[in-house]
């Protein structure tokens, strides 16, 4: 068979010209895309800085008594509420909420509920994408919106494991371990990462009562038993130490190692 060299050359040239044009087009697309993204980012940053000034103004006036809650709400409502302003305000409330306690913390919670911010989070919880749902749960639980407990509880049955885990953390964040009596414990694995998030929430929210911990000890779910043991160890709940040492439960191998090491530590604490 003879190769038609002239024809082959034409084919190659044709192919190359087309590919060069295609790549050049793609290059322009990514170049423009990058510059557009950068300018949107810088614009959002500037807008966010402006919004930060507004939120600081509104919240500090409310917190330090130069304006009443109603006046602050009116002040806030006088601005156009786009998603970025809502996000900036929610972020500021969460960060101040973490730093203050008592009346000021309560005022921040009331501000959140009475403004349209809580509705914004509820909408997220009811949306379809798991990322939005997780964000909604996180905000509502951190800002102590107890009315959201029922909505979040229903999410324990959500098909996404991310949502289930976040709902479990959210419920504990809202009511501490006492809240465990109000719902059936999830069947999904609460991995070490999620457990550390729960411990963190219990710590920063200064829960004094760990009444529902026995629900964890009695759970069929090995990961929840380990969570209970971890909570007892971390918060030094001495009243449960003997029970933990006597616990005859054989956990799945992946939990047994952590379980044994915590029991060793507890045992050394009890019988130094």
């Amino acid at each position: 068979m003879k190769v038609d060299n002239a024809h082959s050359e034409d084919e190659l040239v044709y192919f190359l010209v087309w590919m060069i044009c295609l790549f050049f087009g793609a290059f322009l697309f990514f170049l423009l895309g990058t510059f557009i993204k950068r300018s949107i980012k810088l614009r959002t940053q500037r807008k966010s800085e402006d919004y930060q000034k507004i939120t600081d103004d509104v919240l500090f006036n409310a917190l330090f008594g130069t304006a009443t809650l109603e006046e602050s709400l009116q002040h806030f409502n006088s601005f156009q509420h786009d998603a970025l302003l809502k996000k900036t305000m929610t972020r500021s409330i969460i960060s101040l909420h973490r730093n203050y306690s008592g009346e000021q913390r309560k005022l921040l919670e009331d501000f959140f509920v009475l403004s349209d911010l809580a509705d914004f989070s509820y909408k997220k919880v009811k949306s379809r994408g798991w990322v939005d749902i997780v964000e909604g749960i996180r905000v509502l639980s951190v800002l102590n919106v107890h009315e959201a407990f029922i909505v979040i509880r229903m999410l324990l049955a959500h098909p996404s494991n991310y949502v289930k885990k976040e709902a479990f953390i959210g419920l504990i964040t809202l009511k501490g371990l006492k809240g465990l009596e109000e719902f059936s414990l999830p069947e999904i694995v609460i991995d070490d990462w999620t457990q550390s998030c729960i411990l963190y929430q219990l710590r920063i929210r200064h829960f004094n009562s760990f009444d529902g911990i026995h629900h964890l000890f009695e759970s069929e779910n090995d990961s929840l038993v380990l969570l209970g043991v971890r909570i007892a160890d971390y918060f030094q709940l001495h009243e449960h130490y003997e029970f933990i040492l006597d616990l005859k439960r054989e956990l799945q191998p992946k939990y047994q190692l952590s379980f044994d090491s915590i029991r060793d530590r507890i045992s050394k604490n009890l019988h130094p």
Partner: protein
């Protein structure tokens, strides 16, 4: 066209071969980029709300040893070790291995950290050069620090000493002069805490270029595109490799390389495999391949993870001579690893590793510069013979050039859509200009370095070569 049939046919076949190779390289890059983009998107989604500080509450978080080999680092070692000790994590220690430095590294460390000789017995699970002494600090503030003084044996040997000394289940091997993100261990540990069915034997992270970035007290203060063109081009190269390449290999569970500057390993498996190979200059890649082979041959399900967050920042060479030394060493390392583990090539027993990762590395990482050079020689021959198809040749060059610029632009776009570490338009402009210049001022040098690496290997030359660093902007 010469109208001599056999000459024209030879030229046509050559043109096709070159074109098919170029297209296959481009296709493979594009496929990897698409897989990476999807994996990145899902990683960012899953980690959008993660509060890594939560892990600090877990008393039984995985215990980790940071192993930092040091050779003649006396000028910067004080600040570097302070920086390592200030990492946010509960259960970790820092093992600095002084690899027989000829400068005052040991004196600086002893004075700064009030070191005293420890009575800890050195058990050489992996055979190493002689350990002169193990030191700990008499100051409780530095209780997490262990310094080992040993005879010079190279980076791999120093790392092996660290593996022997550590009693933690996980080790993180780093270059002592790298700038680490303070949350590096929190981020590395997360996958271990979200246990999947498979054992995670190693985790790699993204290494970024720190030239011209502002560093204060061992901490990265602001990120800037390097002023030096060579370093700037390497920013693009690292973005392409880590964001558009390794992320995809990790997603396919075919990762063969974890950067020597920064990687986390399961100590038990690393020990069982015999630790780092001191006879190769590509010890980072070789260890990962050996660990994976070990797991497969022992029928243990395993995985190697990759974290796309920029966790480690390093200084890139700013002049050609150091760049050439570095790249020729990388070529030798790749060759040595591929040769040592040639058994896995196209062997179905090793799954994706043998059927895809190994052949890919062999063809597109090791052979590519050789093929490119051969193509260039044949082209020159055609010029001499007067049979070169100029139109095709120029179009082919333009085709490859446009793709190279496009791919760098894709990497910049990916960075802009994800971690956004370069904040100004000026930085962006600098990097785009670098993308245009790279094929002229960088790529030919890298090909030359690869050829040199092969030549050195043929001649039996080894070693690391001098790698001088300029230091960070403070």
């Amino acid at each position: 066209m010469t109208n001599v049939y056999w000459i024209d046919t030879t030229v046509t076949i050559f043109n096709y071969v070159i074109l098919v190779f170029a297209v296959s390289v481009m296709l493979s890059y594009l496929v990897l980029a698409i897989i990476s983009a999807r994996a990145l998107k899902s990683y960012l989604k899953e980690n959008r709300f993660v509060n890594y500080k939560a892990l600090l509450t877990l008393n039984d978080a995985p215990s980790v040893s940071l192993i930092a080999p040091a050779y003649n680092e006396g000028r910067t070692i004080r600040e570097n070790v302070h920086s390592l000790l200030s990492i946010n994590y509960n259960n970790f220690n820092v093992i600095v291995v002084n690899d027989g430095s000829k400068d005052n590294s040991m004196e600086v460390l002893t004075e700064e950290f009030q070191l005293v000789l420890s009575d800890q017995h050195y058990h050489a699970g992996i055979e190493t050069k002689k350990v002169r002494g193990i030191y700990v600090s008499s100051n409780p503030s530095f209780a997490k620090l262990i310094v080992v003084d040993k005879e010079n044996g190279g980076k791999a040997d120093a790392l092996n000493v660290g593996i022997n000394i550590s009693d933690n289940p996980y080790i993180v091997c780093i270059d002592v002069d790298c700038i680490m993100d303070k949350d590096v261990l929190l981020k590395l540990s997360k996958p271990f805490l979200e246990k999947s069915g498979k054992k995670i034997i190693a985790t790699g992270g993204v290494v970024r270029i720190a030239n011209s970035c502002v560093v204060k007290a061992g901490k990265l203060i602001s990120v800037k595109a390097p002023d030096n063109m060579l370093a700037r081009i390497q920013v693009l190269e690292y973005l392409r490799a880590f964001i558009l390449g390794r992320m995809a290999w990790a997603k396919m569970d075919g990762l063969l390389l974890i950067s020597g500057a920064f990687g986390m390993f399961d100590r038990e498996i690393a020990l069982a495999c015999g630790g780092y190979n001191t006879k190769t200059v590509g010890e980072d890649m070789e260890l990962v391949v050996r660990m994976r082979r070990y797991m497969i041959e022992n029928k243990q399900p395993h995985t190697v993870q990759f974290i796309p967050d920029p966790l480690c920042w390093t200084e890139a060479p700013e002049d050609y001579s150091i760049l050439i030394k570095q790249r020729s060493r990388w070529t030798r390392g790749t060759y040595e690893t591929l040769y040592l583990h040639r058994k896995i090539c196209l062997n179905p027993k090793y799954g994706i590793l043998g059927l895809l990762s190994y052949p890919y590395w062999a063809i597109y990482e090791f052979w590519a510069p050789l093929i490119e050079f051969t193509g260039l020689l044949i082209t020159l021959l055609f010029v001499v013979l007067g049979v070169l198809n100029i139109k095709f040749f120029l179009l082919l060059l333009l085709f490859v050039y446009v793709f190279a610029v496009l791919f760098s632009m894709m990497a910049l776009y990916a960075e802009e859509s994800t971690f956004k570490r370069y904040n100004t338009f000026k930085d962006l402009r600098k990097l785009v200009i670098a993308a245009f210049l790279e094929p002229f001022v960088f790529h030919p040098v890298v090909v030359y370095a690869a050829l040199k690496g092969n030549w050195q290997k043929l001649k039996g030359q080894g070693g690391w070569g001098e790698m001088t660093r300029k230091g960070f902007v403070k």
